[in-house]
Symmetry: C2
Subunit: 158 residues, 2 copies
DNA sequence: TAAAAAAGTTAGGGGAGGCTAAAATATGGC
DNA sequence: GCCATATTTTAGCCTCCCCTAACTTTTTTA
């Protein structure tokens, strides 16, 4: 059963709110996703029809078993991609977070599996010498500090 | 000037067709993107209004300088992401292609820059021992061959 | 406990970006 | 040169997903 990127986001935020607060209301999702409450209600109706969510009028939002499974699937991708970006590529959490938010919806199973494999290879146990070296390599290439990066971006293709 | 994912795709395919065939017609884009010709015409009108494309009725499609720049920007991201997936993560080209097609629209400048840096670090010159080792690691984890992977996917989270 | 505030819902609308069907224009075969 | 076919364009429609405004229900507060 396919789900749009948008509905996956709702599902994921319901899961996260549940984990953080214990209960989930429309308002929580409004705040987390920055959409109107009307949009949240609309999405909930759709998710309820698909059997992913339970929601009584004016009550709490609950994930069904099916919904929980789907939400965890999205969230686990999010977390893994996030970790790959921060721990391997050395990207600061805020940026990694926003990239992960997009990629989680599109990444293929194989690509996801390879990222996991790469992390098992590179991050399990002691940090290997080559990864240390790469992180020093980042430092060196970024020294300047602001000026150089700025010029680079202007001169480059993108 | 922001451009939707969809319009970036049109722009990119115009560039690629131009490179491969020398001239670009509506039909080429219809075939490459798998959309109707009406959709292509609609997109062209939008791109023309933004000064990214020139197009006379029933004639060839041309990129303006501005359009070329934008298209190259998307395409260069596509190529780099593609290369990262195939050469670092060892993902087969068809899968990498499809992942790159999504990521190219969302990747942040910093994340893109780090991928480039990682490739310079890992792929410039002779293939380093640790990368060789990772690629053997993939082989090992994937031996089985179909059966094992199948079971793994079923048992796993996603 | 009644009024005010907050939260949730419904109704209606708009833009983006697809589609089909039909009309207009170009092109190739005879 | 003329007709058949291919290509392009227009018109009109649909879905998705967001919005605002108005209304209902719940919660808080005086």
């Amino acid at each position: 059963m396919a789900l749009s990127q948008s509905l996956e986001d709702y599902l994921e935020q319901i899961l996260i709110t549940k984990m953080e607060k214990g209960v989930v209301r429309v308002k929580d999702i409004v705040e987390r996703l920055g959409v109107s409450s009307a949009s949240v209600v609309g999405a909930l109706q759709h998710l309820e029809k698909d059997g992913l969510v339970r929601h009584e009028r004016y009550g709490y939002i609950e994930l069904t078993e099916k919904g929980k499974k789907r939400a965890r699937c999205v969230y686990s991708k999010h977390s893994a991609i996030m970790r790959f970006f921060t721990d391997v590529l050395g990207i600061p959490p805020e940026v990694a977070e926003s990239d992960a938010c997009s990629f989680e919806h599109f990444i293929s199973p194989l690509c996801f599996q390879r990222m996991l494999l790469f992390m098992r290879f590179a991050l399990e146990g002691k940090k290997p010498a080559w990864l240390e070296e790469f992180h020093r390599f980042i430092e060196k290439s970024g020294k300047g500090n602001g000026k150089k990066t700025e010029r680079k971006l202007k001169g480059g293709r993108c």
